[in-house]
């Protein structure tokens, strides 16, 4: 009887593990471009964003059973990793350039494509905090939720969002006039 129970347990564990694997794979496939885009929006180069997204996904895979809202969790972890990275780079300007990773088969082509993205030119002139709150906002988060994620008050989030939107609006207006 014990052996039968044990066999059922092993089978159940196997099924649970297999389901978790499938869930993670589905999440990864669907979410990884979004996560990379989210980091680029905040100021990471495309290659760095892919690197940080991969690191985050490794952590997600390792702790999958304990993560309740994977998308929010991944955004939070990846954002913090980006802040850590940027502060390290500022201290060490000679930090090595990111290399091709499994996720980025052609880093040079990706970098070239990145240069052609109009939105990145616009975001580049925004202060880091405005870029940050805008990244969360365009991903569908409310000011209150962004405030909770970033550990700042809602008023500061709203103020930064307002300034960021004004800058974007001004840029859109200039573009229309130029064309």
């Amino acid at each position: 009887m014990e052996a039968a129970t044990s066999s059922v347990d092993v089978g159940a564990r196997h099924v649970a593990r297999s389901t978790a694997e499938d869930e993670f794979a589905s999440f990864y496939r669907q979410f990884v471009p979004t996560l990379v885009g989210f980091l680029i929006w905040q100021g990471a180069s495309a290659c760095l964003a892919a690197d940080l997204a991969q690191e985050t996904m490794i952590k997600a895979y390792q702790g999958w059973s304990r993560i309740e809202s994977p998308a929010a969790w991944a955004r939070r972890v990846a954002s913090r990793a980006l802040v850590r990275h940027l502060s390290r780079v500022e201290e060490d300007p000679a930090a090595r350039a990111p290399e091709a990773d499994a996720l980025v088969p052609q880093p040079d082509a990706l970098a070239q494509w990145e240069c052609g993205q109009e939105i990145l030119g616009l975001l580049a002139v925004l202060p880091p905090r405005q870029r940050q709150v805008l990244a969360w906002s365009v991903d569908g988060y409310t000011p209150a939720e962004i405030a909770a994620e970033l550990g700042i008050d809602s008023a500061a989030v709203r103020s930064n969002l307002l300034k960021a939107r004004r800058s974007v609006a001004q840029r859109m207006k200039s573009s229309e006039e130029e064309s």
Binding site: V32, M57, E99, A102, L103, I119, M172, K173
Partner: protein, 361 residues
């Protein structure tokens, strides 16, 4: 001030524009990211704890390899082909993989022998063994230094264990003429194993050898192309393995070396698995290291064009291998080394730099 000035867009228009930009950015990324390769890399890398958490289990592949190669029961058929009998489950699984590779058409195997992924994979498995040797030497040294009184017996035991591992390594290396320098290093290491300082030197030499082999893997995984500031991009999974090899070559932490070597070997196994379209890739590097691609002792090569093929390291037999009519057998024999006197089984040697295989037994 003349002309019509565009109005500042309202908040809704800005949000719509930002949404469209975001969609375009993510859509563009989705087209340019290799999501499947990324997912596989995550799974491989995340499993490193599983792989190295129980180091003994992770390295059981090596036991399986040892089980395949220096056989306790060897039967030589009249064709000169050697058959090994094993009952161990893991060795059986590896044996099936080896059999699959040995059953590939001879021309395919000749091509795969010099394929960078295959060469990197066998080196990857070798790195695991060298790193393990270095780590165990470190552990032995630490344990000996804690022994009160005379540690002579412990030193002798540690040296004997290390010598045994070094000889097993040397046996594998002797099948890979391209790794003759590594073989020389391991043989020197094996000879030097006596006494505390020598063990420490041997440990350092093993770590140097591991780094050297890791750099060799980096070279193999770097696509050929014009030398620019940045090397040409390698395919995703290959770039991932290349990065692991680079990390291994430059890490200063021996625990990291073990982790990285295990993950690297695992990643390279999967690269070979993809190349051969094999579902179960585990242990492929070990099988290649064991010379599965090199055994032509019973192969029919009579229709294979060997004009541009480097035969160095090919194992052939007087009675079983069928060569094209253009091959001068007497000359080939003179350029080969007989594995055991009178066996009729030879290995094509690299120039005159031959190794006396009998000294490794």
């Amino acid at each position: 001030m003349t002309g019509v000035s565009a109005a500042i867009p309202d908040e809704g228009a800005v949000d719509d524009w930002l949404d469209r930009q975001r969609e375009a950015l993510i859509g563009g990324l989705a087209e340019r990211l290799d999501v499947e390769a990324g997912l596989r890399a995550v799974r491989i890398y995340a499993r490193r704890d599983d792989l190295v958490g129980d180091l003994g289990r992770a390295l059981d592949v090596e036991s399986g390899l040892a089980a395949i190669l220096p056989p306790p029961t060897v039967v030589a058929s009249t064709s000169g082909r050697v058959t090994h009998f094993r009952s161990d489950g893991e060795a059986v699984a590896l044996g099936i993989t080896r059999q699959f590779i040995e059953n590939l058409p001879p021309a395919t195997r000749l091509g795969l022998r010099r394929h960078p992924i295959c060469m990197a994979s066998s080196r990857g498995r070798l790195v695991v063994r060298v790193v393990k040797l270095a780590y165990e030497l470190s552990s032995d040294l630490a344990a000996i230094r804690e022994v009160e009184g005379s540690p002579a017996l412990h030193l002798q035991l540690a040296a004997a264990r290390a010598r045994s591992r070094a000889r097993a390594l040397a046996r594998d290396l002797s099948r890979h003429p391209a790794l003759a320098h590594a073989l020389a290093a391991v043989l020197a290491l094996s000879r030097s194993l006596a006494g505390d300082p020598a063990l420490a030197v041997a440990r350092d030499n093993a770590r140097s050898l591991a780094r050297e082999l890791a750099l060799d893997i980096v070279k193999l995984l770097t696509p050929a192309g014009p030398r620019t500031r940045r090397a040409p991009a390698a395919p995703g999974a290959q770039a991932f393995a290349r990065r692991l090899a680079l990390d291994l070559a430059y890490t200063a932490d021996s625990r990291d070396e073990i982790e990285l070597a295990a993950v690297l070997a695992h990643a390279l196994d999967h690269q070979v698995g993809d190349l051969l379209e094999l579902k179960h890739a585990e242990g492929l590097g070990a099988v290649l290291l064991a010379g599965a691609l090199d055994d032509f002792t019973d192969a029919d090569l009579s229709d294979v064009d060997l004009s541009a093929v480097d035969l160095t390291g090919v194992r052939w037999s007087e009675w079983g291998t069928r060569w094209p009519a253009t091959v001068d057998i007497a000359r080939l024999r003179s350029e080969s080394q007989e594995t055991e006197p009178g066996s009729g089984v030879y290995v094509v040697a690299p120039g005159t730099a031959t190794v006396d295989l009998t000294t490794l037994v």
